[in-house]
Symmetry: C2
DNA sequence: GCAGAACCTTGACCCAAATCAAAGAGAGCC
DNA sequence: GGCTCTCTTTGATTTGGGTCAAGGTTCTGC
């Protein structure tokens, strides 16, 4: 995935961390100049830690390529994923000095970072950027709360179906989406990472995937390449009424 | 609880929905005047719905007294609480037209509301208000994610201990807090509401409370009045390392 | 092409919490 | 005082998903 795919609207703002046309389009030359001057790239290998919970975090960033996860752990090692960052997602918290969760790369990862202090200064001077950040944070809050419903009340089967639906919606290549409900994509997570996201064990994840395969709800090629022949049927298994957006 | 308890710093700003001294103190006369001109009070009886998920929500508000909850439901009726609003908590989403969850009063409830459109206008013109809103939203996001850890990975016992700890921290009357780890408070929720918050059934909640009582971790007078003789001992049961802030 | 390491699947068994059921405890009301 | 309604407790039973264990698949590096 290239920067153009991520920021389709405004090539002059290809690395703008505020991933939204309304804002990119509204950034003036001076603002873009500031962003340009404070940005730098960092890449990570699969499995590498981007930052530990509690560490000082002096940047905000957009994911350019690869997958990152946010996780929290209990001291005995039980871990719960609390966020999944796909390309074009934003991470970082203006006004916060320390990272509140572990951020790690689950695949090779490229991030476009911006130094936090000057970014905050720009934000504080630039109302539409602050507004956009508020909106993004509200989106994340909605997702987190929808995930609370999943964690607290859904069965293992429903959890799996929900996760597959989210990944499909985010990842399925556009051309294949057109074909009447058929979706093809690669799972970006190991069984263990899925389990940590869903509040299950990896064995249960594996069993549910096998069940979906057995029932023809999904087709698997290798361990990661998934075909969903009928997306509506998958959605039916997810348990929530109607659409239920859930991104990020 | 009086407005003075809620907004201890700035009596002239007693109804400011941005519950933070730094912001109240920074509101100038004109801003306070705007807030004053767009505010109104609404009261609800215990059990009453404040707003249904999906309905148009044309106000933002502070809880003045009583308890409100945010809940989400699956279409078969399983429900999950995703937020608990105690006095001084803020609810509402600048920039969003529709309520994303059910908001209901679990006790008699008084809210101080502000019409949304003029509130947004004020926010867009007033950088420190937008910043404060962003900060509050980030706090809520952190709480939501901490709750995800609870829902996904904690045992029933740990869940109950965590909930008691949160309510104790928020509600325990200040004088009693001084007494070496001893805390006294009233549970603001029915067993069923606790269950919805914790992703459990009400029977399990009841059993865990009985267990804590039997072991002397809490003392109960009636069904709601709780004494925690040793707060650290309760915290030990909650499973999370060290402090783990978790508010609203 | 082989060895080792990750990662994944499947089976057998178990247990924490759900479900089903019944009875107790208050609170409000006549 | 007794009646009803809601909330809560407790017991008996069931079950979904966890745990433990044993192999199976890929992938990587040599």
């Amino acid at each position: 995935m290239t920067p153009e795919d991520i920021h389709p609207v405004s090539p002059s703002c290809a690395d703008c961390p505020i991933r939204h046309r309304a804002v990119c389009a509204r950034c003036d030359e001076r603002e873009l100049g500031v962003l340009e001057s404070i940005k730098y790239y960092r890449s990570f290998e699969a499995g590498q830690m981007v930052i530990w919970s509690g560490d000082k975090m002096d940047f905000v960033a957009s994911v350019v390529s690869g997958i990152a996860t946010l996780t929290q752990t209990l001291e005995d090692g039980r871990t719960q994923m609390v966020g999944l960052l796909l390309p074009s997602d934003f991470v970082g918290r203006p006004g916060r000095e320390f990272a509140p969760y572990n951020i790690s790369a689950t695949t090779d990862l490229m991030m476009c970072c911006f130094r936090k202090k000057p970014f905050e200064d720009l934000m504080f001077r630039t109302p539409h950027i602050a507004q956009r950040l508020l909106e993004m944070t509200l989106d994340e809050l909605d997702s987190a709360r929808e995930w609370m419903l999943l964690l607290g009340r859904k069965t293992a089967r429903e959890k799996l179906a929900s996760l597959l639906a989210i990944v499909a919606r985010r990842d399925a290549s556009v051309k294949l989406r057109a074909t009447r409900g058929r979706m093809i994509f690669d799972l970006p997570l190991t069984r263990e990472a899925m389990a940590d996201y869903l509040g299950l064990t990896l064995e249960t994840v594996s069993r549910q995937i096998s069940a979906f395969k057995r029932e023809g709800i999904i087709e698997l090629e290798g361990k990661r390449h998934v075909t969903v022949p009928d997306f509506d049927r998958l959605l039916n298994e997810a348990g929530d009424d109607a659409d239920g957006g859930m991104l990020s």
